[in-house]
Symmetry: C2
């Protein structure tokens, strides 16, 4: 009896080793195909160059919907369809300008960018004395008597000592998202933030901001980091310095838009869904290359790799281009809403929204008993330099799928230079490296293959 | 007795844990200082922008010697000095041109770059039928009857499926280094190679080539990968296609040049030396940013970090700017020769010559009994995402120090996009990210601190 158990154990070990080596061969094939195909890169080029300005609700966003649908139709996926939704429509307008007016230092132009959903200044712009602060606490200390009628300038940099640049971003983003209302609470007439980036350069970085109910809506713009430093220097020499800001952005009526979904039907459990998602909308000042053209292309190319290599997943694999991640996540909400209506089973979801630099790993949010299985997948990815398999995964677009019990997974690429691009005119196709993009696509395809095969 | 052993073990464990946590604090301080200082980045900017064209023996190389000496003098290191040596002097000359002449396809200009140490074509250039090959075996099969009087075009790409791009480079570099003599052996009158890069773009990549004794010296140039593909396409439609190449490069008399050395004197074992090295010479077509401006700056900044943080190493730490890595490694030879003459003790040497992208790890060549100690250092670097501590380290400049028993260490940064820059006009300051550079400097400083402190 004992002997036969030993033999069975031995045989099962052999079978396991064989399966593992087979998996390694398939994963190697996925990487080889990704690294020798220009499909992903050329699709990204088209998206960046031909749908630039694809902020949600824009004609360019509609073109991006059209283009990515067509790419997936051409791939002959089992099904390609749109999910209709309503999105906010904010337009930047022409002529964003800002001028320093100082009796001591004269006239200086600053490079600015209106923040998403901000109101404009009106044609003549706004002029006011500038008050530099770092935090909301500073505002409270200064109080209405010092702030009323002025322009508040938030100049708190992202912490450069944090190795995780997303954490540094998280620590500074409140200035952008809530700064206007916090300043307006004390009577400020406008708000300027130092761009959220680790770079010291001339690019202003935009991004969404929110107005708090019941507080006056004041214009909000960002200024490049070089100009933020300049403005701060000038202010320290001339506290009476004024700023003249002109912006013509405005909020229009909501319009119809779409998520785009492409499906590879599962062979065994077609009703169980693995979602791979990026977001199709992008800020209008750049090309939306790293944010989040690469995420969309990762999703499309991962599905193409599985299909073209004849890998037939047991579950249904969906590439999803979410609309409106940047402003109100309406696409994510619609996707979850339809999943609820259709009683969909969501097995796992991977989001790529951290750019298209070299992949370093994945983060997982899963039931504790399944976590070990995920973390051990690392072994398969070592030959590709992908070694960071960590707890904690998700994202704005796939977050709502947690209610369906789906494992949520973040794709984690290298992140040191990501915020050089994020939300700025510098987020262009030229900043994406073909190999880094290809490796990301392959990594995601390989992960989906393993999760599906081993029912993780 | 047993009890006291247990107590001693316990106490020594506590001491160890305390030492480790102190080390973590010091390493954190090194990274903080690196990430909040622009010194390294601004020094690199100067080197790139003001000594562009610093191929060995050039006036720009002399300026680079001057500049890096001055930077280290300004840092008030214990000693800064030059090591004189003789270097080859090759100059590119003006007007490198190549034209396709085809009765079927007409006239096309190609983007070329003469290979380092190549002879020129003479004023009128050379014209010949083009023969495309992949390997030296192809030449042997074709033989003199097919090759004589022609231009040989080596068009074997770097293997894109290799994750290690340096391995892909190694697998294709023979075309550049030996291709001319291999082709001339069969009577070829000139040689063209596909640029050694993983990118498909318009930049020609230069690099050193060697002539074999007793074989005619024929002109050797590289062509951009886009033009290599174009040339190959045209050739398949018109096998009678000719190429006209004009290059004016030439080899002049040898001249005097220098290595630059900056020292932080050891407090306990001043005669034991830890070398941190990069190379100061760079190909003339680019700015030598990633190859190897970043290596030089890594070395200088690592020493600055130790000094400015008041870390006093037991051993002497040297930042060394090696001259002439690209052509004949005369700087490396001179450094070893002087070490021999002066009976120097070389404890360890770190070379940074793989660019200035995000650090991922270090490679070590050391006595086997010391290897485990090195590999375990990984734990200190995990918080910084630096996790690849592997066997096998060295480099062209520190290689000769093995005879002194020195541990040889390679600095390993991310490598997917490195060959987009390598030896091309695309190797510019703008391609270096400040954070990636800063992290590299800190990683090297931290490694030196640990190796020195724990006598590894």
């Amino acid at each position: 009896m004992k002997k036969s158990v030993a033999i069975i154990s031995f045989l099962s070990l052999l079978v396991n080793l064989y399966a593992q080596s087979q998996d390694s061969v398939i994963i190697r094939r996925i990487f080889d195909e990704a690294l020798t195909s220009r499909a992903a890169y050329e699709n990204l080029r088209y998206l960046c160059k031909n749908t630039k300005g694809r902020i949600c609700g824009s004609p360019q966003a509609a073109e991006a919907v059209e283009f990515t649908s067509q790419v997936m139709l051409d791939m002959e996926l089992d099904s390609v369809y749109l999910q209709e939704l309503m999105v906010k429509r904010w337009v930047r307008g022409m002529n964003e300008e800002a001028y320093v007016i100082s009796s001591l230092f004269g006239f200086h132009e600053l490079t600015i960018s209106g923040l998403g959903t901000s109101v404009g200044t009106g044609e003549k712009g706004i002029i006011g004395k500038v008050l530099e602060v770092q935090t909301f606490d500073d505002l409270e200390k200064l109080g209405t008597e010092n702030i009323k009628g002025k322009l508040v300038f938030f100049n708190r940099p992202m912490d450069p000592t944090l190795i995780n640049t997303f954490a540094a971003y998280g620590g500074a983003a409140d200035q952008r998202t809530r700064g206007a209302s916090e300043a307006a609470r004390y009577g400020a007439i406008g708000m300027v933030i130092r761009s959220l980036t680790t770079a010291l350069d001339d690019f202003p970085h935009t991004g969404v901001m929110y107005y708090e109910e019941g507080i006056p809506k004041i214009p909000a713009v960002s200024v490049s980091t070089i100009d933020a430093e300049q403005l701060s220097r000038l202010l320290s020499g001339d506290p009476d310095l004024h700023l003249h800001i002109i912006s013509n952005c405005k909020n229009l009526d909501e319009v119809t838009s779409h998520n785009v979904v492409g499906e590879l039907k599962g062979t065994v459990y077609p009703d169980q869904i693995i979602t791979i998602g990026g977001h199709l909308d992008a800020w209008d000042t750049g090309e939306g290359a790293h944010d989040d053209g690469t995420g969309c292309i990762h999703a499309i190319e991962a599905v193409r790799l599985l299909k073209d290599l004849g890998i037939q997943p047991k579950r249904t694999i969906r590439a999803v281009m979410f609309m409106d991640e940047e402003i109100a996540q309406r696409g994510a909400k619609k996707y979850a809403e339809l999943a609820r209506e259709n009683n969909e089973k969501h097995y796992a979801a991977i989001e790529s929204d951290r750019g298209g630099l070299t992949p370093v790993g994945f983060g997982f949010t899963a039931a504790e008993e399944r976590m070990e299985g995920f973390l051990q997948l690392k072994e398969y990815f070592k030959p590709y330099g992908i070694t960071e398999f960590v707890r904690g995964g998700g994202g704005a677009d796939i977050g709502p799928l947690r209610e369906f019990g789906a494992t949520l997974i973040s794709f984690i690429p290298e992140m040191q230079r990501y915020f050089d691009y994020h939300h700025s005119p510098n987020d262009t196709f030229e900043q994406v490296n073909i190999r880094e993009l290809q490796l990301g696509c392959a990594a995601i395809a390989a992960l989906v293959y393993l999760i599906d095969k081993y029912d993780l």
